[in-house]
Amino acid sequence: MSLNIYGQSLKSRLLIGTALYPSPQIMKQAILASESQVVTLSLKRQNPADKSGAQIWQYIQEIVEQCQGYLLPNTAGCKTAKEAVTLAQMSREIFNTDWIKLEVIGDDYNLQPDPIELLNATEQLIKAGFKVLPYCTDDLVLCQRLYDLGCQVIMPWASPIGTGKGLMNPYNLETIRLRLPDATLILDAGIGKPSDACIAMEMGYDGVLLNSAVALADNPVIMAKAFAAALTAGEQGYVAGIMQQRQTAHPSTPTLDTPFWHQS
């Protein structure tokens, strides 16, 4: 089974970020170990004396080439639709892609997306020919509105960016899956451990986007492999059909002709 992002078929269901790794070398090893084919990155001002930015960009290009993958630029740091639209246009020129991970932050404390600005930016970007992957909260109506605007991919959060708290509200996430059966749903932000990703996939999510959970692990390369395995396990569990929970115990060993007891 493959992940479909705006008509592009991808073998891996993991999308991965490039920030916070102990070194560029470990970043490269970890991303390649994750088997991800979608790598997120951003844009920022650069001091003329700072050479690290150019070096990192070189590494990211090498990674994308080796994994035959795709760049997914984000609009991190934007707080208004206008800022996000401008940054998306700048990203499209540099990275030569219509894909944009749309982030419009409404609150600095928990980096929660601003739903009003997000919808506004989405509308403008879709009109301008972008393929928008919006980072949003786990609000069903917001996700529905984004889908109605033309987002084929919706990316609700598991929990606030960088917290590693996992799925704060599984009910909301399950409801979004149930109500938007044709949307490509990618759980984005707040993933802390491989089992979080596995749970999302067991719910029927199409993929997971994460960064800190791998980059901040004691061993990012092993953690990247763990996430790859967790996504596969969760996806196969969903495809196989998970049994219904039952209220009472049912013996799994046949009780007919049980030896020794019940013989008064």
Partner: protein, 70 residues
């Protein structure tokens, strides 16, 4: 006249008032050759328009480069 490039106040003379001229003045050789994109006063300016974009006093130019991100 004064302009701002990435938040830094810079002075340009009357012959340097296109965006292309300002970029060549304030970006180093390595930056000029690398991947970057530009916005003036919050509006994106495509590469094809650097030469025909005239700057005004106190214009704010953002020059952005690729960086890691999540």
């Amino acid at each position: 006249m004064n302009i701002y490039i990435n938040g830094q106040n810079q002075t340009i003379n009357a012959e340097q008032t296109t965006l292309a001229a300002a970029l060549s003045l304030f970006l180093n050789d390595r930056q000029i050759k690398s991947s970057f994109a530009v916005a003036v006063n919050g509006d994106f300016i495509g590469k094809d328009n650097y030469h025909n974009t005239a700057l005004q006093a106190n214009d704010s130019i953002d020059v952005l480069f690729p960086i890691v991100g999540g």
